[in-house]
Amino acid sequence: MRSYLSKIVRANEFYLLLVIVVLSLIIQARSGQFFTANNLVDIANAMVVPGLFAVGAFMVLVSGGIDVSFPALASLAVYVTTRVLVDAGWGGGIWLPFLMAIAVGAVLGAFNGLFASRFAVPVLIITLGTASVFSGIMQGVLGSVQIPNIPAGMSEFGRATLFVAKNPQSGLTSNMPVSFLLLIAVVAIAFVVLRFTTFGRGIYALGGDESAASRAGFNVRRIKFWLYVAVGVIAAIAGLVRTSMMDQMHPTNLLGMELMVIAAVVLGGTAITGGTGTLTGAMLGTLLIVIVQNSMILVGIPTFWQGFALGVLIIVGTGISAVQLTRRNRKNSAALIQKGSA
């Protein structure tokens, strides 16, 4: 029996946390601004949307696939919701936008799920296709345009604040959005589903060995299908949060986020081959990327270094785990060579 402590030290999350702490200290030392109340709240604020997306991306990665369609899915679901409600002059609360976005997200997720559960084609390629169908429907068929005035319920939700953090020196204030609670709720639900339901364990099982999963009695197709429905719902929620917080519907605002989210989840220790990874890791990975993105200004690095930094982070992050794996099998050069890794 291993001791609890050594288990912690061995865990990938531990090192990630260490990196985050060290990075925070460096930023603090360079700028003196990191550990201020408003900066921490800003980071929490910036976490919400990528964090939500990361939950969905994480579940798909654990099942052994890679989904790149969630930003397009979210955009389409929320565009439809906003357009319909604005045209109908909806003046009520946030519940209806949520229900609508979730419903559309579920339908679009089911579309992904139908393909992913039935075709022996990498999910990456399927979702490249569906992503383009989703954005094509939004921009082509629906002729999407920016919607500056979103329903009042959404605006209110976007402005709703838990508390305001104030930086005593600079006098800057930051609002802690109510949607942060939503992130916590989604993470908590996902945690419970993944850990305490047969569906959740089934996602891990089929990421480990799909044929063993079906022999063990899991209905692999059904699990995959509902997984993508769930991911669609989570993505739609993320999209709705983003639109509400921006106080306008910007159709293409989310597109291109998939890379950063997948990178965050992979940095969090989730194996791209499926089956392993923790939600904690995925959240820490997201936090790391959000800190890097948010703090560049603090340390005086121009924002257009962001893409570069993200690229380096992905390569270094995935490189470290790849090198560890290589070291472990260093002796047997043949064992290193696994099909599909080229």
Binding site: I66, F115, S117, R118, F119, A120, V121, P122, L124, I125, I126, L128, G129, T130, A131, S132, V133, F134, S135, G136, Q139, G140, V141, G143, S211, S214, N219, V220, R221, K224, G256, L259, A263, I272, T273, F304, W305, Q306, G307, F308, A309, L310, G311, V312, I314, I315, T318, G319, A322, V323, L325, T326, A334, L336, I337, Q338, K339, G340, S341, A342
Partner: protein, 347 residues
Amino acid sequence: MLQKVTSLNPRLGLFRDQHVVRLAAILALLLIFFAIVKPKNFFGLATWQSMAIQFPEFGLMALGVMLAMVIGGIDLSVVGIANMTAIGSALLMLQIAPVGSDASTGYLALAAAIGLSLVIGALAGALNGILVAKVRIPAILVTLGTFELFTGIAVIVSGGKPTSGLPPQYAEVMASRLFGVIPMPLIIFIIGAVLVGLLMYKSAFGTKLYMLGSNETAAQFSGLKTTSLIIRTYMISGVLASLAGLVMLANYNSAKADYGSTYTLLAVLIVVLGGVNPNGGSGRLSGVILAVVVLQVLSSLLNTFPNISNFYRPLIWGGVLLLVIVVNQWGKNNNLARLFRWKGNAS
């Protein structure tokens, strides 16, 4: 069971490959439809010339993605490489021949720019290859990361703004037409395709690539230098992407870090549509070239309908990709009904 046919001799295999035949039939039908519906456009030289200027941009990228996919990998960084090299060569040209320079300086700048672009493309590809073959990061993560990296570098060196004001000699050369008919971009594409074809079918390199993609361990146990093969493959992909960058630079008369953002999807789509197995080991150049032409004709046909917006294009492309997936599956087990059952694995 269907007999799978692969071939050492490309000419022999071509007509036995059902996928290529099917694509050729689709192209023929599409052309007939085009001729009937829009005879004016169809029989106008300008239609074909504008196609020939446009498709080399993504066609060259698709050739690179094809090579990566044949060895069981993927290259999602081609657009990043194209933009980075385009910006690099644009800046070099501005450096050598600022606005107002004479023609000979302009030509010098042009030659230097082409050279630089190919070198950067090869280096960028080598980075991909090293990360895949040496560090052993999955290709999809490597190229997702380097796409960000190369695009990031492009943003940094260009400040995120379009780089323009190129010496007129560049546009002049790139707009020139062989025999007054064949536009330069098409010539570049043909050269690229012919070189890739020679490499794949006329040299030992090609046979090795297919072996590597089909079974990497067996390839290594057969004494192939797998690391070097992988690196060289990504380098070729990088060079092809940099050629695409030069074509884009000419077509837009400027370079910017976010040009051609839909081309990643398009290149992957073309390669899958062309019949390359996403798991590596099979697929042929003729299929990919046919797929490029099919998509370009489809896209030009759409352009002749003014009320269909450009934004329909991703919808159609994505739809075609999904359709191909369905049809391929259909062809494999001749039984669509089993796809609608709840039980069973993804077959």
